[in-house]
């Protein structure tokens, strides 16, 4: 088993290399020149063409942007081996510092969102599956289907417009994760303030995951309940509660637990749209800034990190399979 996973880890290296190469090419070959962007409008407008051209050339040389692409890529690879992501083109700060600032915010946001999604969807799915085609089940199915197709930028905009002091009520704060002067407050007040700030963005982040999880849970549970061992448990005279929660639930958790792997990249990646709309300084809004300023090293760092997380997520899924279902083993496939 261990050998199998070590093998899998090693196989990730060529894939990661491929991903970094593809991302590198995409980032550098799409039009848009960071040196030009960095120069900004002011110098361009000043009319001093010579000075502008000189600044652009020097900026390019400074960041190695004047080198051929393969040289730039090899340089990037060499640095990444020592976990050096380089400096941001925008403000010269090391990218690793930016990541250290932003990652905890996104982990908190997505972590809370995932927690809620699981906490609500499991009992809801179980209820729907144990009372199939009842009114409750029908209503939840329809509502979940609706949630599934709702664009999150729409929901976020509506939340900001209607609940954040735009057109109607001014109930929730819609800017950042803390009030401007919260630093001087006692901790319980700060906590309350932060929770208050979290409600809207977490809701916007959660409803989709929640809908997906509940649908999976319902289908998985219905399949399990029809199986023989559940009939046997009933025949033995076990109580319905024990049958559902001890026998059926454990088995139907498999697909849900492994879905966790798909959700892992979101934990770090955050949501570009939700974080940008609510001005939350997490990875999502960092990505948006990186795209807008054409910050090559930052873009590369984000691409590589999220690809790494996706790969780890897939690996984690395979590992979780063996944990929740001891019948699954990888020894055979490891030798094959």
């Amino acid at each position: 088993m261990r050998i199998y996973f070590v093998k899998r880890l090693l196989l990730m290296v060529p894939t990661l290399l491929g991903i970094s190469l593809v991302s590198f090419l995409i980032i550098h070959l799409t039009p848009g020149d960071p040196a030009l962007l960095k120069l900004g409008d002011s110098e361009q407008r000043s009319g001093n063409q010579l000075l502008a051209a000189q600044i652009i050339d020097e900026t390019r040389a400074l960041y190695g942007l004047d080198q051929p692409l393969y040289v730039q890529y090899l340089r990037w690879l060499k640095r990444i081996l020592t976990f050096d992501f380089g400096e941001s083109l925008r403000d010269h700060r090391p990218i690793i510092d930016k990541l250290k600032e932003r990652i905890p915010v996104s982990v908190k946001l997505s972590g809370i969102s995932l927690l809620f999604a699981y906490l609500i969807s499991i009992p809801l799915g179980v209820h729907s599956a144990t009372h199939p085609y009842s009114i409750g089940d029908r209503v939840t199915t329809i509502v979940l289907f609706g949630l599934y197709s709702l664009p999150n930028f729409w929901i976020a905009t509506m939340a900001i417009v209607y609940l954040g002091g735009g057109d109607f009520w001014n109930v929730f704060p819609v800017y950042g994760l803390a009030s401007p002067n919260a630093g001087s407050w006692p901790w319980w007040q700060r906590l309350e303030d932060e929770l208050w700030h979290l409600i809207l963005p977490v809701t916007c982040l959660t409803y989709y995951t929640f809908a997906v999880l509940s649908r999976y849970m319902r289908v998985g549970m219905i399949e399990i309940i029809r199986q023989d061992f559940i009939r046997t448990a009933r025949a033995k005279g076990l109580g319905e509660r024990i049958i559902v929660y001890r026998h059926a639930l454990r088995n139907s958790l498999i697909p849900i637990v492994t879905l966790m792997a798909d959700l892992l990249p979101a934990l770090l990646g955050g949501s570009i749209v939700v974080e940008t709309l609510f001005s939350i300084p997490g990875m999502g809004s960092l990505s948006y800034e990186a795209v807008n300023t054409r910050d090559y090293p930052l873009l590369m760092a984000i691409f590589t990190l999220s690809a790494l997380l996706t790969l780890l997520g897939i690996l984690l899924a395979d590992f979780l399979y063996t944990l929740v279902d001891p019948r699954i083993g990888y020894e055979k496939s490891a030798t094959a």
Partner: protein
């Protein structure tokens, strides 16, 4: 009698199963309705009359506009660069008449005298900050959404089918290269990749279609590859090859028709997600050029105007929601109908 003896074809069964599903049929009706709206947007919402009679002559200005755009006809000098509404108001006498479309505004018709009006008989869904009619913009926006959905998905279905078929059919080194490519593309964060590329291309619908198209093929390729692996050793394929069918003929004539159902289902869901991606891009300001009305760009505009008006956020969002839901419903219906496990039920 002869037809009854033939075994029922696979697509026939799928169609029969699909027809039984009333919700799916309702979804399909909405999808078709949206297509009609998109195709006839100029006849539903335009500032030009559909038909008008002026000085004993009958004109069809909306049709004429198409002809002029195609270069087959020219506007009469008296109608060149005129606003038909002003023209009707000032030049018409008792014998002349004009029949306008149900929504008598063009999507980009600015009117600074009616800014931010709530829905009324005049402006069914209200107006925005420069007096453009929201109903007209929503109707014309359907064109962007549906065309992006269809073209983008067609692009990636074609790429995916091609790569998946090659990988599944030939196996070996071809399969290895294709599988690595699929794995790499599946691991790269797609939405982030799309905005990275789109943000620095000039805003155009075509660019969005192409970018969505070339980033989403791996799912289709993986599906096709799997189906080909399952199918290629079946007896009828072996028989076709034994009869001397070429590779191309075996792939396209024999295997592909039997493997395409799951791809078709995936494509239906794909249209829904492509429409979502397009509206998100337009919302973030990376999407359609400002001259085009798109559901996402109407919403983006509404967000920047605070306090704005409920009609600016509610209607374009509902349009997106309705479209995406209908496609998802049709997709679910197709998936259930195509699932062989349900055939007997």
């Amino acid at each position: 009698m002869k037809r009854a003896q033939r075994p029922e074809g696979y697509w026939h069964i799928v169609l029969r199963q699909f027809r039984r599903n009333r919700v799916a049929i309702a979804g399909l009706v909405v999808v078709l309705l949206l297509f009609i709206i998109a195709a006839f947007a100029d006849f539903i919402a335009s500032d030009k009359p559909l038909v008008m009679k002026y000085r004993n002559q009958v004109y069809f200005p909306v049709l004429k506009d198409y002809a002029a755009w195609l270069g087959v006809a020219r506007w009469e000098t008296q109608f060149q660069n005129v606003s038909f509404k002003d023209f009707v108001a000032s030049n018409f006498d008792k014998r002349d008449w004009a029949q306008f479309p149900p929504i008598r505004y063009s999507p980009n018709e600015v009117s600074l005298t009616s800014v931010l009006r709530p829905p009324s008989a005049q402006h069914l869904l209200g107006t925005d900050d420069v007096g453009r009619d929201i109903a007209s913009r929503v109707v014309h926006g359907s064109r962007v959404s549906l065309s992006v959905g269809f073209v983008a998905v067609s692009i990636y279905v074609l790429i995916g089918l091609f790569i998946g078929a090659l990988a599944g059919y030939y196996g070996g080194i071809v399969d290895m290269i294709a599988s690595r490519m699929i794995e790499i593309m599946l691991t790269i964060p797609t939405f982030f990749l799309i905005i990275t590329v789109v943000a620095f291309l000039p805003p155009s619908i075509l660019n969005i279609m192409i970018v969505i198209g070339i980033t989403n093929w791996p799912t289709v390729a993986r599906l096709t590859r799997g189906e080909f692996l399952k199918t290629k050793s079946l007896e009828y394929v072996v028989a076709a090859k034994a009869l001397g069918a070429s590779d191309v003929r075996t792939i396209f004539r024999h295997i592909l028709p039997n493997t395409i159902a799951p791809v078709f289902v995936a494509a239906t869901f794909g249209v829904a997600s492509a429409i979502l991606i397009e509206s998100t891009l337009s919302f973030l300001g990376f999407g359609v050029p400002p001259s085009k009305a798109s559901w996402g760009s109407i919403l983006s505009n509404a967000r920047q105007l605070l306090p704005s008006g409920w009609w600016l956020t509610v209607f374009p969002g509902l349009a997106i929601f309705l479209t995406v839901t209908s496609y998802n419903i049709v997709g679910e219906g197709l998936r259930d109908a195509a699932d062989p496990r349900l055939k007997e039920s």
